[in-house]
């Protein structure tokens, strides 16, 4: 067990002006599951890119030994040949192609000049069995859920006879069930001799699965912990990741004063005419002034559809039901109507439909409320910079200037820009969809602190989240969504992970 399959020694990688990695050493034993943790920007992804040859030999200092041999990869194809496969957070599958086509994409089985499709399908079936994915290989990838797509990616890696599997935040987009499946699969692969490196922000699963953990911080190796010796615990990990102790990840509010009901939804149903399926069924919920309402539920349970349809953007669904804002019945035909009524929606996919990445921080912050900073439809540029700078300091957005393009910011800071954009609208109700997905512990804490400040100032927050601990830590009241219905509602005092999970999977 103790022979290293991989040894990276004294890796230093510099970008113009930044030292992304300095003298990092990283050792993975054969047949183990090794977790790599650290805040965003700690250098995890850079290290993996060095390993997989995205940054070719010569562009970094230090040496890589894989299987006891020094390796000089000049590209991904070299590392693949050596038996290293990397699976990124953004899946690299072609949605319109079938499962078997995807598995053997770039690695086609040929008979003469033509592709041998029969053999391909047969081999795909075999490798799908290995990842315990029970789908027809001829299914199109777009028809599978994210969890299953992830398994197809792993099957693709296995089809190439992989020795070392690297997964970059594989469970970030998965619900608890699929995550559990994936972790079980990694354990099984381990029994068959496949070594895995897992990059994850979810410390719970790290603790659950890791044989050893390496913590990176600011481009340096902080420590490598051995799970068998009992060195791995949440406290230790967090302490090493942030370099300080966070006693409580969820800051407590000083006082809670709940006011009148601000937003109420009654009998809300949504029907998708294309799929011929009911997406949401008879949903009732409300939120009071100064309250954080958590909406828990698995991915695909209809949480995001619920938020989007209330926000006036039902993407072609037929909607039934009523929305009451401060007791008045309202109808939203377009997000604009919802914004005017005092509702803001911070999307779960900030890169996909939240931010305009090619525009700068200030333009993103003012986008939803340009009227506020314009006179007779002419934008006051100076006032805009001022507004943006105010948010930059009040939300602690780390950017050199507000003229920085949003695509250059880290995930946590992008999220703060998203939040700033909607705070500038001065809403009464702020809907946060997965507010802390893919951001590091420090930034999470800041987002939570901001949320607490907002509700203490009288705003109401609806927080949609698949992280149960977050729901339990932040909410005053929890609704559980399952298969498009409200499966239950409970005050936070009565809520436990087990209860929520039971209702969500019911």
């Amino acid at each position: 067990m103790n022979t290293p399959i991989l040894e990276m020694k004294n890796i230093t990688k510099e970008f113009p002006g930044v030292k992304a990695l300095s003298n990092v050493s990283f050792r993975v034993a054969e047949g183990e599951i090794h977790c790599l943790v650290g805040e965003n920007g700690a250098g995890k992804s850079t290290l993996m890119k060095v390993l997989s040859g995205v940054y070719p030999h010569g562009s970094y200092d230090g040496s890589i030994l894989f299987g006891g041999v020094e390796q000089k990869f000049s590209g991904i194809s070299d590392s693949e040949k050596a038996g290293i496969a990397i699976i990124y957070q953004e899946l690299a599958l072609v949605p319109e192609m079938t499962v078997y086509e995807n598995i053997f994409l770039g690695n086609e089985i040929k008979k003469g000049l033509a592709v041998d499709w029969n053999e391909t399908i047969k081999r795909a079936g075999e490798v799908l069995k290995r990842v315990r994915l029970n789908v027809n290989p001829e299914t199109r990838v777009k028809d599978l859920g994210v969890g299953k797509q992830q398994l197809v990616e792993i099957a693709k890696a296995l089809s190439k006879d992989v020795k070392l599997l690297i997964l970059d935040e594989p469970t970030a987009a998965l619900n608890e069930d699929d995550s559990e499946n994936l972790l079980n699969l990694l354990r099984e692969l381990k029994d068959h001799g496949v070594t895995s490196i897992l990059i994850s922000h979810k410390l719970k699963e790290v603790i659950e699965i890791a044989d050893s953990v390496t913590v990176l911080r600011d481009g340096r190796t902080i420590c490598t912990l051995d799970a068998q010796k009992g060195e791995v615990s949440e406290g230790v990990l967090i302490k090493n990741m942030v370099g300080r102790e966070i006693n409580n990840i969820y800051p407590k509010r000083a006082k809670k004063e709940l006011g009148e009901v601000v937003l109420e939804v009654r009998g809300w149903s949504a029907y998708n005419p294309i799929l011929g399926r009911t997406i949401l069924r008879d949903i009732n919920f409300n939120v009071r002034r100064g309250e954080i309402v958590g909406i828990a539920g698995l991915m695909g349970s209809g949480r995001t559809e619920l938020a989007l349809s209330i926000f006036g953007n039902p993407i072609g669904y037929h909607i039934k039901g009523d929305v009451y804002v401060k007791g008045d019945k309202r109808q939203f035909h377009h997000p604009h109507d919802a914004i005017v009524a005092g509702i803001a929606y911070v999307t779960e996919d900030r890169k996909g439909n939240g931010l305009v990445l090619i525009q700068d921080v200030k333009q993103n912050i003012t986008l939803a409320n340009l009227r506020q900073i314009s006179k007779r439809a002419v934008v006051d540029d100076n006032l805009e910079v001022q507004v943006a700078n105010e948010f930059k300091s009040s939300l602690n957005i780390k950017t050199p200037t507000v003229e920085q393009k949003v695509m250059k910011l880290s995930g946590g800071n992008q999220q703060k820009v998203s939040v700033a954009k909607w705070l500038f609208v001065r809403p009464d109700v702020l809907i946060l969809d997965e507010p802390t997905r893919g951001i590091d512990v420090g930034a999470k804490f800041e987002i939570y602190t901001i949320m607490n400040r907002l509700v203490s100032e009288g705003m109401s927050i609806i927080m949609i989240s698949s992280e149960l601990l977050e729901v339990l830590g932040m909410s005053d009241r929890v609704y559980i969504v399952s298969s498009g219905r409200i499966a239950g509602e409970m005050p936070i005092e009565e809520a436990t992970q087990e209860k929520i999970m039971q209702m969500a999977t019911n």
Partner: protein
């Protein structure tokens, strides 16, 4: 020393913006040498600008279309068709010019909205929708000119748009060969520009924002002033400002202001950058498609009027390939096919670059076959430059 450091920094940060001007300057310099000065002569430059006019207005509209990630192929024959309608309105219906022009432009806006309808309501790709328009308007030109063939336009006021020049100030006897009003307008423009820049700088300083260092700022003012002065001087040497140039300047001015200063402009660029994010930010994306295609149609009408007026007639082939010239001008001018990026001023410079190439090579007597090849190469080079500076830039 710090002056040069500042200057270097400003140049490096804005290489994309200034690159286009430098390219135009180089092309002009090269042709001036190869044609022994004929290229830069007042007469040729004046002609060049007038020829650019009808493509430039299309390029302005096309900029916005491409910024919102669409394309409009129908604009060339739409321009030709509306030019023919203008001719018919003047000749057969006997309507006066001041009614014909707004009428035709309104028709253009409606035509643009018709193209936009399947795009906005049904999500049909604009390439397909506007390709249909291309075919339909091509047929429409042939249809309306079926009996008459080429329609000669006898209306002097209408023809002045494409051929006439602004009048000179009467009663001034100094500098007999120079157009005094053009000079005066140039001077006014320079003064206005300087005052405007100084005010905006003061305003920024009042907010404690970063501004150009005084040295670089003075250099910028001097440079632009000399540039405007030179252009005015060259134009004043031959008949002065043409009505075409005046119209293009107004169009560019209005669109530049709209895209950079107004809420509408912001919404258009946000939609180009990320349509879903724009929609969720409360922006009515469908409406913007109508607005942008409507404006494109209106500018197509203007282009058609400029062209018909320049030829003093409406022909059966008017508008052929205008759309591709306009699209090329936009790409040369730095508009990104990925959406969300591009300036109307850039596209107009792009149009000037392309027309300068044609004009210069014509003067040199280069065969049309080679001209196409050179223009193609310049288009590719401009886009490569744009992509390279974008990925390496800030």
């Amino acid at each position: 020393m710090s002056f040069f450091n500042d200057l270097q920094k400003v140049l490096r940060q804005n290489i994309r913006e200034y690159g286009m001007f430098i390219a135009l300057f180089l092309i002009m310099a090269i042709f001036t040498i190869t044609t022994k000065g004929v290229f830069i002569s007042s007469r040729n430059i004046s002609n060049l600008l007038n020829q650019t006019g009808y493509i430039a207005v299309l390029a302005v509209g096309m900029t916005l279309v491409i910024v919102i990630r669409h394309i409009d192929l129908s604009v060339g024959f739409l321009a030709g068709f509306l030019g023919a309608i203008a001719a018919i309105a003047l000749v057969s219906w006997g309507l006066p010019v001041y009614i014909v022009i707004p009428l035709v432009m309104a028709l253009g806006a409606v035509a643009g909205c018709i193209t936009a309808f399947p795009v906005a309501q049904l999500g049909i790709p604009s390439f397909v929708a506007s390709l249909a328009g291309w075919l339909i308007y091509r047929g429409a030109i042939l249809l309306v000119t079926l009996k008459t063939g080429t329609i000669i336009i006898p209306d002097a006021a209408f023809n002045a748009i494409g051929n006439g020049y602004i009048p000179d100030i009467p009663g001034l006897n100094f500098l007999p060969d120079v157009h005094k009003l053009t000079l005066l307008l140039g001077l006014v423009a320079i003064v206005f520009y300087i005052i405007n820049e100084i005010n905006s700088r003061k305003n920024k300083m009042a907010y404690n924002f970063e501004v150009l260092s005084p040295g670089v700022f003075a250099l910028k003012l001097t440079f632009i002033s000399i540039l405007v002065a030179l252009i005015t001087w060259v134009l004043a040497g031959y008949n002065g400002l043409s009505w075409t140039v005046v119209i293009v300047l107004i169009v560019v001015g209005v669109y530049h202001f709209m895209t950079t200063q107004t809420v509408l402009g912001r919404h258009i660029y946000a939609m180009g950058g990320n349509p879903e994010a724009a929609q969720l930010s409360g922006i009515n994306v469908k409406r913007l498609i109508y607005v942008v295609f409507g404006s494109m149609g209106m500018l197509s009408a203007l282009s058609g009027i400029l062209f018909a007026s320049r030829l003093q007639s409406a022909t059966t082939t008017a508008g052929t390939l205008f759309e591709l010239d306009a699209i090329a001008a936009a790409y040369v001018g730095g508009v990104s096919a990925a959406g969300g990026v591009g300036k109307v001023t850039g596209s107009v410079i792009g149009a000037l670059v392309m027309l300068s190439l044609t004009s210069g090579m014509n003067l040199m007597g280069i065969d049309i076959s080679l001209q196409y090849i050179v223009r193609g190469a310049v288009l590719v080079a401009a886009v490569i430059f744009d992509v390279a500076t974008r990925t390496s830039g800030k």
